[in-house]
Point group: C2
Chain length 236, copies 2
């Protein structure tokens, strides 16, 4: 038999991944009627149980619509759940969609600036300890873009927690996941690394001083810089 790697990832998820990819990439255009369940069974070599669970996953992402008696069809893009990381990342990748990138950056700006303010107001001493430890680590990782990027990501995660609002965390998560890849790109350039670190220090100081306005301002500058970097990275 084939020594196929069968599975931490369950079959329905694998099938859903492939279908999701095909839909988001446009291989299955909007309004396309999907093959019937039985046909998908033979195409993917799985049982109907698996196909059905896969389809449910697609439905939960808003990608397809299932109608009893009729069939399954690809829903218009406006219905897709942009908060699903796979959908978001896929759309960003396949369409040359700079508008979407702009939207992502905008959301990030809106929320994270407020997060900085809230964190400044609500941070505990423990939060501060964590942030400062991360700054030290970042300082030490100035020569290692990947390590720095990981720490950078964690810095923002800690800050998000310090804002003490679970909803904000959940909302920002998919966006953050996408931006992580972006940070990976911009941080590759050593110059922006030290600039970035300086921004984080300012931010941390403001949070330490519980100065909301300054914290928000620091975050705003930090984000503007990031957006400039990422736009440059993409264009150039």
């Amino acid at each position: 038999m084939s020594s196929e790697r069968v599975a931490v990832r369950r079959l329905p998820e694998q099938v859903a991944d492939q279908l999701c990819e095909q839909i988001v990439s446009g291989a299955l255009p909007v309004d396309t009627v999907l093959p019937t369940e039985s046909e998908l069974c033979v195409r993917f070599g799985v049982s109907r149980t698996v196909v059905r669970e896969a389809v449910r996953l697609l439905v939960s992402k808003g990608l397809v619509e299932v109608r009893h008696g009729s069939g399954m069809r690809v829903r218009p893009q406006a219905m897709w759940d942009l908060l699903d990381p796979q959908v978001l990342f896929g759309r960003l990748q396949h369409e040359r969609n700079f508008d979407l990138l702009a939207e992502i950056l905008e959301v990030r700006r809106i929320i994270e600036i407020e997060v900085a303010g809230l964190a400044a107001r609500r941070r505990t001493d423990e939060d501060l300890v964590q942030l400062r430890a991360l700054l030290v680590a970042m300082q030490a990782a100035l020569h290692d873009a990947d390590a720095y990027t990981a720490l950078d990501y964690e810095f923002h995660a800690v800050l998000l927690c310090a804002a003490r609002n679970r909803l904000l965390i959940d909302m920002l998560q998919p966006v953050a996941e996408v931006l992580r890849a972006g940070r990976h790109i911009t941080n590759r350039r050593a110059r922006s690394l030290s600039t970035s670190l300086r921004g984080h220090v300012e931010l941390c100081d403001a949070v330490a001083a519980q100065d909301e306005a300054t914290a928000r301002d620091a975050m705003r500058r930090h984000i503007v810089q990031f957006e400039k970097d990422i736009r440059q990275s993409i264009v150039g």
Copy 2:
């Protein structure tokens, strides 16, 4: 035969609803091992197919964790997907959780203020026509709290669209759904209706003038008033 209304809502959803309710309400505490699939089958009088799909729904909400060979257990609350309306609404209802309400209001405040600014910047003439039409309808519905509430909701929806950011729409949606119920409560009091209408008019004027700062300010005042109302409604 019984004229039981059997069915737009599929069986898996019905079962998931009940289990979700039990989990969120605390009837099935965190870390509880759920009954086995077979047992749930007899308990709900459905097949394993249905039970399995129901469980998948719960998994997608982050409520339960399924481990192959072991069993299914209720995950800690921190893992629950607060962006799922059912979970959000349920938690709000069952725990006497004023912190969560505060978080919801906070998120709404953060996002919708920005939305007002963006809408002022990006609104089209068509957006404006819709908003003004809604204002007229609201004026006419000042005596009908329910009708007014529906129009109120739509006003904010149109404004959200005018901000031209799909991600923002998706993010705010679950929160908005919850707040809709809240608006239903606060708007029952005639006094707050005319106050509310005045706020909407100011907001609409600022958007019409494409005055971002004023739009944000108007939205802020509107929201603060709403929060005051809802807190009063709950306490008193």
